[in-house]
Amino acid sequence: MTEPVIVASGLHKRFGANEVLRGVSLTAQQGEVVAIIGASGSGKSTLLRCIPLLEVPDEGEIVIGGEALAMVERRGRRVPADARQLGRMRSTLGFVFQSFNLWPHRTVLGNVIEAPVHVQGRPRAECVAEAEALLAKVGLADKRDAWPAELSGGQQQRAAIARALAMRPRALLFDEPTSALDPELVGEVLQVIHALADEGRTMLIVTHEMGFAAEVASRAIFLDAGVIAEEGPSRQIFAAPETERCRAFVRRHMERHGRR
């Protein structure tokens, strides 16, 4: 069996007195699309953010592509130990934020080529060509010279996805990619994500969109109060959950959001 792309084991994370992750482990194999679902406050965003160490887990290990992220205890807190390794590892993952987080002082094209040119050190001309292809892929070819402020939410998120893809990542991480969007704009973003899944990319998606998750994910993890209450193939989680809590959650959210 080939090596999993991402392995997170035994993650614990506390914010003050609040323990948000209580021993969560997760593995993502090549080509898998894993949906992470759960109620607000269940720890799903925190779990995702731990992988590129945007949050540093108090306990637990993160292994990306077979390489463990070095962490060290300093002044009572755990921090990344090797900044160069962290930068290198992060540049192999594409992270898509809930609030897009485009850089306001760069055009759409500028946003997409920023990391490839300045973090990965690739030649500018090559990055621009690839960026234009990616923008066309997400349907923003004509917005290449637009400023983020001029775009709708859906367009900004698609640009953010292009930005993540530009780094030729080995895995894509989506943190509630459509939660900040007006309902009419959700569809265009989901479409792009679906297409990426169809290409066979490795993806971890934290989302509330139950119907979409059921369609696109190969596997799903249901997080409840900081622990994995149930996990398994998406057919199981979404259609025939084995635990009562998961059943109740999925039923409530399927009703509310409906199927797509």
């Binding site: 962290l86 290198r88 992060r90 992270f95 987080n101 850089w103 973090v119």
Partner: protein, 228 residues
């Protein structure tokens, strides 16, 4: 005709003071900017540093500029040690004292402007940079500084105009910039209203040029956080 002659003459005489006004403005703003940057670094560096910077800003923003100029021009000369030092040839020159006190004063205001600029950088933009694998230095250079500067630019422009006005105080320590010449003419001719008119026009023209320059800079840099 005599009136127009007088006005014309006065304007020409006052214009000869413009180079010094500009020198004082540019010199104090440039040195002040460097000081402000140092202050910002000092503030971020340690608790004592932050305390020192807060005290510095408190004192220089809470007292009149005139008193600060007085302290440096007259006050420093009180000490034999300073008079004997290598700095004395500079510190007894009105020009140096003026630039020094103006620079210290503007540094206090500029460091606050910089602080506001840095605080306004959206946390999301920084996180996106980290998520891409940017190092701390790269993040500062490509994301934080550009956004902070764009945000601070309007306030900085206002500070520049305030500095142009502040240079007029240099006239009180014998420097013959525009206001100094204006005072000389008024005390000779007692025609304060006409002189005020001419000097006023010159200062307004300088401000206008500055405002346009800052606006052009803002346009050239592209959109900032504010409009996003």
């Amino acid at each position: 005709m005599d009136e127009l002659d007088f006005l014309g003459n006065t304007l020409l005489q006052l214009l000869s003071g413009v180079p010094l006004t500009i020198e004082l403005t540019v010199g104090s703003v440039a040195i002040g900017a460097v000081l402000a940057l140092l202050l910002t670094l000092l503030r971020a560096g340690s608790r004592i540093g932050a305390l020192f910077v807060s005290a510095f800003v408190f004192v220089f923003r809470g007292t009149p500029l005139l008193l600060q100029i007085f302290l440096i021009y007259y006050g420093l000369g009180q000490f034999a040690a300073i008079r004997a030092s290598v700095f004395w040839p500079f510190l007894r020159e009105p020009w140096c004292c003026a630039i020094l006190s103006l620079a210290l004063n503007t540094a206090a205001y500029e460091s606050e402007i910089l602080r506001g600029g840095f605080a306004s950088v959206p946390a999301g933009a920084i996180e996106a940079g980290r998520a891409c694998g940017m190092s701390r230095l790269l993040l500062l250079r490509r994301i934080i500084l550009p956004l902070a500067i764009r945000q601070a630019l309007p306030a900085y422009g206002n500070e520049l105009i305030a500095m142009v006005k502040a240079t007029s105080l240099a006239s009180l320590i014998t420097l013959m910039e525009v206001t100094g010449i204006a005072y000389a003419i008024i005390s000779q001719t007692y025609r304060a209203i006409e002189v005020f008119l001419c000097a006023g026009i010159i200062y307004l023209a300088l401000n206008f040029a500055l405002t346009r320059g800052v606006a052009a800079m803002e346009a050239w840099l592209g959109p900032s956080v504010r409009r996003a």
